[in-house]
Amino acid sequence: MARLKGRGVAAVNYPTGMNLGGDPSQALIHATTTGSFVITLSSVDLGQGIKTVGAQIAAETLGVPYESVMIDTADTDTGPHCMGTFASRGTHRIGNAIMMAAKEAREVMMCVAATELEVDAGDLVTDGKGRIHVNGAPDKGIAVLDVALAAHFKHGKTISGRGMYLKPKSEVVPETGEMDPDSCQAHACTIAEVEVDDETGDVTVLKMTNAYEIGRAMNPALAHQQIVGGAWMGISHALYETTEPYYPNRAHGPLDFSEYLMPGPGDIAEMDSVIIERPSSNGPYGAKGIGEMTANSPIPAIANAIFDACGVRVTSMPITPEKILRGLDALRGNPN
């Protein structure tokens, strides 16, 4: 009876976005009279942080403070079209749409500022703090608030912009099966260290070390959070989740999602993660998607670590104590 230690490695190459009949997301942006900007989307923030990252992208493109950007993810009936938050596409697709919209709005904003200052729009720069001024002459400037007021009340203009990002449909080449399914690919590698109890079949994940290459990390703290949360989901998927996990008799098993077994706060592993940034050519500011992939490499890494620890190769999930004990029996030549 022993607790056997093992280590396993797995890597994943993960697509950003998908390509069915073309994959669009759109965004609209407009300035209010107070010089803040509202971005209307029908994309949903379910905790992954698209509101935060979208506002960062808009602020950077407009040249205004992050605080003056509001994101309204109001309603899929009334908002500009979004295919949805799936396929790790949000930051890339919606981010690109926001960037396009913000660029258009910035042009109008600079035009109005130029008229107000009686200079050429091409000579103007934003300071990122809420002012627009002549390049090299910070004193010759105007607050974004005053530009918004002038646009509304003097010029009858809307400082607004449209963003329509489309990943066009890619047809399959019939001869070769080739197509272009995604926009870029992110990469990750996980090393899992586990302990297997050869008497009970119980697996404890001791440590996970992750490296992620996700283009530019738009918000490293959020990206890190996704890695940790995703690794936990990976542990959950690898070892726990099914509607019939530990019970050979279906009637004794959980019947619905609320009864899924999942690792609790006492079952989490020590985690060490690094982010490597290699900007993509087509994501907003070089971003790629990270959403789904974070639950991927942990799973085969754990399976490999279990094999390393006790020699049992399990090829279906979840890897329950029962499967490990049956595997150990088989290795020892005991009939099941």
């Binding site: 905790g47 703290a221 940790v228 949360g229 609790g264 006492g266 985690m271």
Partner: protein, 164 residues
């Protein structure tokens, strides 16, 4: 069966309400009191997201028939939040990125409040035990545990500063 009148002190204010038989505390909080910071998750005592404090102790508000707690003092996330700014536990959750979708957050914070009231200097294991009845589907728990430990430090140093 008839409706009955129940009196509760909710976030410091005395309230009387007419409740249908079998109404749970969460029904009353969310529907008649408009206190929607308390989340309804599983409605079967399994997820902890509906946690509030009843007479200072954590309780799953989806499991409590409100007629059985006549006269009790109930505290919700709205009561914990100061009129200005945030409670140190909320501050720690915010700074520590301990929330993603936020659905579990008010339950986690109420559990933390009860823990820290009893034990201002908890170990990591104490925190894990305290939140073990609360499910989070997003964060992987690590950030939540760290935030509660950080909140303990914040509350202790605030108390220290006050005493000095």
């Amino acid at each position: 069966m008839k409706h009955s009148v129940v009196s509760l002190t909710i976030n410091g204010a005395e309230r009387q309400m007419l409740v249908a038989p079998g109404s749970t505390l969460i029904d009353v909080l969310r529907e008649s009191q408009g206190l929607t910071g308390t989340r309804r998750g599983c409605e079967q005592g399994a997820c902890g997201t509906c946690t509030v404090l009843v007479d200072g102790k954590t309780a799953m508000s989806c499991m409590l028939p409100v007629e059985t707690i006549e006269g009790a003092h109930v505290e919700t996330i709205e009561g914990l939040t100061p009129p200005q700014g945030l409670h140190p536990i909320q501050e720690a959750f915010l700074q520590g990125f301990a929330t993603q979708c936020g659905f579990c957050t008010s339950g986690m914070i109420m559990v933390a409040a009860a823990l820290l009231a009893k034990n201002p200097n908890p170990s990591r294991e104490d925190v894990v035990r305290a939140i073990s009845g609360n499910i989070c589907r997003c964060t992987g728990y690590e950030a939540i545990i760290d935030a509660i430990l950080d909140a303990a430090v914040r509350i202790r140093s605030a108390a220290h500063a006050e005493a000095a």
